[in-house]
């Protein structure tokens, strides 16, 4: 087994679940999410990036997964079959309380909410992962929280 292959296996073990949940936040479909993470690891293998720390490696994988998801969502196939995919999400297993409510938000809000509240990312880290400004992250976070409050009330928020 090559060193690269071993590194990929270790990264998948450490970050696989996080990456699946990030991908699902975009795709709303577990099979698609698995395909997105699969692609991220194929890129990991083909580009053999060097990392300065575990956090750096995780951030790289999350950023690559997000880019793959965005490309997937903007592809002609996805646009043509968006309605079908939305229906599929209803039958999926991701229907657990708050997670489901967050996943009902528009895409640009739910990914920011997920990274902030699940991954404990700072606004600066989110900005880097999504390729947008901290100001845009702040705005999306505020609007996402407002939408969540409309759905679940103020009780969960400071």
């Amino acid at each position: 087994m090559s060193d690269l292959r071993r590194a990929a296996e270790q990264a998948l073990e450490k970050y696989g679940e996080s990456l699946m949940r990030v991908a699902y936040t975009y795709t709303k479909n577990m099979q698609d999410a698995q395909d997105m993470v699969q692609d991220a690891f194929l890129r990991y293998m083909s580009s053999a990036p060097q990392f300065s720390s575990d956090e750096h490696e995780k951030a790289w994988l999350i950023r690559v997964t997000i880019n793959i998801c965005k490309n997937h969502l903007s592809s002609a196939y996805r646009r043509n079959y968006a309605e079908l995919d939305e229906n599929m999400s209803v039958c999926d297993t991701y229907s657990s309380g708050l997670a489901e409510i967050v996943n009902s938000l528009p895409e640009k809000y739910r990914i920011v909410i997920h990274l902030f509240y699940y991954e404990d990312y700072t606004q600066k880290q989110i900005a880097k992962a999504l390729g947008i400004t901290e100001s845009a992250v702040s705005t999306r976070l505020q609007r996402g929280r407002k939408l969540l409050k409309e759905k679940i009330g103020d009780d969960y928020f400071d």
């Binding site: 090559s2 690269l4 292959r5 657990s96 489901e100 509240y117 845009a136 400071d158």
Partner: protein
């Protein structure tokens, strides 16, 4: 903003959702193809040659397709747009400032080579850029000694000099033809209320300035800037009053002024607040700061004299 209760409940909820069984095994099994070439270098060369040939054919096909698309579709509509960057405290022009642009999604605009579109102001704070005619374009400005600014790409941009960490600065701007003023009250621990507006600074018992007006404005697109100290005990309340509505009841309502108040602290942007276009009244109470804690109040009410603002 920590929202620990939401964060904990959300994590619990997400973690309760089952991921596909053996998803890691499935992913790993498909990685083996990528790993194989390293074990069979001879095969790699043949595969790479075949792939290169296929890629060359694909690139030519894509180029032809792109050429035909470019010929048949109109080019993106762009135009030269001019901006002037000035200091929010003394209106001095800011030269050498780095300027970038963002679309309505908050993503940086790129040039034809895929690089972030960037320009620098001349010594008079002016910069011109060829930009798409998008309604909600944003501008990002960074300059030595100033707090980074991101906001709507209007013709005149005002940036705020960095301050000591316990200092606040509020910059009020508006877009429509009316005269607005920034009002600041300090309610101290003994319940004494001190009002600051364009002609009266706030001093403490020792005569030290706690709040002062940097620039006054009576017209749109020019800033009214107030600087105040965050290290004093009490409640700061920041409001915006419509002076024109007191002079003339038929003047433009405050709600339609396009008023925006931007708050900075130290070397950071705290937030940008805009008037609700459906609100009523001639005073907009924007926010309060009590012993360093910010509360956004965002309410409106009416007064018959500016000294009634509280």
């Amino acid at each position: 903003m920590t929202d620990n209760r939401f964060s904990d409940a959300y994590k619990k909820s997400v973690n309760s959702v089952q991921l596909p069984e053996n998803f890691k095994d499935h992913i790993l099994s498909n990685l083996s193809l990528e790993d194989a070439p390293k074990k069979k270098p001879g095969l790699v060369l043949l595969q790479r040659a075949a792939l290169s040939a296929a890629a060359a054919v694909a690139i030519v096909a894509c180029a032809l397709l792109l050429f035909s698309v470019l010929r048949s579709s109109p080019p993106a509509v762009t135009k030269d747009m001019h901006f002037r960057i000035s200091s929010a405290t003394n209106l001095a022009q800011v030269g050498g400032a780095k300027v970038s642009f963002l679309n309505s999604e908050g993503e940086y605009l790129k040039d034809e080579n895929g690089n972030t579109l960037t320009a620098y102001t001349d010594e008079k704070g002016r910069v011109t850029a060829k930009l798409p005619q998008e309604e909600a374009l944003q501008i990002e400005v960074t300059a030595e000694g100033f707090i980074p600014f991101v906001g709507n790409a209007s013709e005149n941009i005002y940036v705020c000099p960095k301050m000591t960490e316990d200092t606040y600065r509020a910059v009020l701007t508006w877009t429509e033809d009316c005269d607005l003023d920034a009002f600041l009250t300090l309610t101290t621990e003994d319940k004494t209320e001190k009002l600051h507006y364009f002609k009266s600074d706030i001093l403490n018992a020792q005569g030290e300035v706690l709040a002062a007006l940097d620039t006054d404005s009576s017209a749109p697109h020019s800033p009214e800037t107030v600087t105040f100290r965050g290290d004093c005990q009490g409640v700061w309340r920041l409001s915006v009053g419509s002076y024109s509505s007191l002079k003339d009841e038929n003047s433009l309502p405050l709600a339609q002024s396009g008023a925006t108040l931007t708050l900075y602290k130290g070397s950071s942007l705290v937030g940008e607040y805009s008037i609700d276009a459906l609100s009523k009244g001639n005073v907009w109470r924007v926010l309060e700061i009590e012993n360093g804690e910010l509360r956004v109040t965002d309410t409106t009410y009416s007064v018959s004299a500016m000294t009634d603002i509280n």
